[in-house]
Amino acid sequence: MTKEELIPKLKNIIAPYVQDEEAFKNLNEDTDFVKDLKINSANLVDIILDIEDEFDIRLENEDMEQMLDVKSAMEIINSKLES
């Protein structure tokens, strides 16, 4: 999936958890979920579950550990979709 297709889908998923709306407006590949969007780290697990549901994929603990920003999230989602 291209960046242009993925980012809007990701934005929909993470919107409910975002604590910094300004940073969310300017979301780009380098946006960090915790540092920039101020998402409570406990909610990262909920985002993972929502991503699994949206893309019908399964994310392992190792994937989760790496999924800290938009770029890594897109890479992991794409690698799962391709496999």
Binding site: P16, Y17, A42, V45, D46, L49, E52
Partner: protein, 424 residues
């Protein structure tokens, strides 16, 4: 010198009224909050009636953010947070995410069990081998101190934040623990309260014990019959009550509205001796609890004008009245007025103590005694002990200054507190 402690904030989520205004109105008019629940019938409960507060989604959204509501399934925490925030605002404070951390205010908010519906969800998930998909909210909603965790974060409280649990004594115990802390100078203010979930999973164990009434499924409002000859078991309830306790000096300093003073109280246990069991009270310990509460309050037994009893509408109501008559050494026409809030709201379990303490303070402040409903056929054993006119079945307007409230719980535990009207 121990500090005097007053109540400056009230909040309540009761089956017959959400918020102090609605609840006061319900108390005055003797309105029952007991309704039939199809779900209990479908699950083959003997008792298919109960007391559940009416909380709209709109009201819920005033207290919980959209994020907090995601995956939220804990009625006790819902009720507790609404009552707690209301009490805090009633005391003249704001609920503000950016408020400064307040090290002078603590929180003791009790419960019997937390988020039992959420726990059920989690257990199904775990048993299906799907623990990885439970999400992040199970622990916070099912830990006993969940309600305290949610509330302290909403309000930014920085003194002791904890949860107590002592069956149906929980609420009154929370109040007395907060009272101790302020009296001894360890906090200026304590938000105290208790809450209880509603529904089949919390009530089922009691239904199995056959201690809930099965005779009023067709007339729920008549089901909770405290002190009545035809009482046939309690009606389960749910909800939350909360109070802001504060040192008198702190309340005066900031010009807060004072609802009443907490003169003192006592907490004890009958140790399941002398007739006490896991489920029945040791009468000697109950009497001692009342006597000590009066001593600790610096008053005489004769000073007690009104009692808000525990009075669940089981066969133990007569024993409770007998215990009061012995502890106070007063009977017949000399006995204080007494009422049972449970006749209107059922037995709200862990929430009972604080909902009923809030009810007591409202009656003391507004100078009325709420009616005992469903008690037109007073139990003959009770009538032998005290005059029937001491158990008003209609609202009674009366000037009085001192009210005692007691709660008793499984495990043979007791708590009694004495409130005084305070005119500053």
């Amino acid at each position: 010198m121990k500090k005097r402690v007053v109540i400056t904030g009230l909040g309540v989520v009761a089956p017959n009224g959400v918020g102090v205004t609605e609840f006061t109105d319900a108390l005055k008019s003797g309105r029952s909050g007991i309704t039939f629940h199809q779900k209990l019938k479908d699950l083959n409960f003997s008792c298919q009636i109960g007391g559940v507060p009416n909380i709209s989604d709109e009201l819920k959204s005033k207290y919980f953010t959209n994020l907090q509501q995601r995956g939220f399934n804990s009625s006790g925490i819902l009720y507790g947070c609404i009552a707690g925030v209301d009490a805090w605002k009633d005391a003249g404070f704001e609920k503000n995410e950016a408020s400064e951390l307040d090290y002078e205010t603590g929180l003791i908010f009790g419960t019997g069990t937390s988020g039992i519906e959420k726990f059920r969800e989690a257990i199904y998930g775990v048993d299906e081998g799907n623990v990885r998909r439970l999400g992040s909210t199970v622990v916070l909603q099912t830990m006993a101190s969940g309600v305290s965790a949610y509330l302290s974060g909403m309000l930014g409280l920085g003194n002791q934040v904890t949860t107590n649990s002592s069956a149906c004594t929980t609420g009154t115990e929370a109040l007395l623990m907060g009272f101790d802390r302020i009296q001894n100078g360890k906090a200026k203010r304590m938000l105290v309260g208790s809450c209880s979930d509603d529904g089949p999973y919390i009530w089922g164990g009691f239904d199995a014990m056959r201690v809930m009434t099965y005779k009023h499924n067709n007339n729920p409002e008549q089901g909770s019959r405290s002190m009545s000859a035809s009482a046939s078991g309690f009606v389960p309830g749910s909800g939350a009550g909360a109070m802001v306790l504060e040192s008198l000096e702190s309340a005066l300093e900031r010009g807060a509205t004072i609802h009443a003073e907490v003169l003192g109280g006592e907490i004890n246990s009958g140790g399941q001796r002398q007739g006490g069991t896991l489920t029945a009270p040791n009468p000697k310990a109950v009497q001692r609890c009342i006597i000590k509460a009066i001593e600790n309050s610096g008053i005489n037994a004769n000073d007690v004008e009104v009692i808000n009893g525990h009075l669940t509408a089981t066969s133990k109501d007569s024993l409770e009245i007998e215990n009061w008559t012995k502890a106070l050494n007063r009977n017949g026409n000399d006995f204080p007025y007494i009422n049972s809030t449970k006749s209107m709201i059922g037995h709200c379990l862990a929430a009972a103590g604080t909902i009923e303490c809030v009810a007591s303070i409202i009656q003391l402040k507004e100078q009325f005694i709420a009616p005992n409903i469903n008690c037109e056929d007073l139990h003959p054993e009770i009538e032998e002990l005290i005059d029937s006119e001491k158990i008003p079945t209609e609202k009674l307007d009366m000037n009085f200054d001192i009210m005692a409230k007691a709660s008793f719980g499984f495990g043979d535990v007791n708590a009694c507190v004495v409130f005084k009207r305070l005119q500053v």
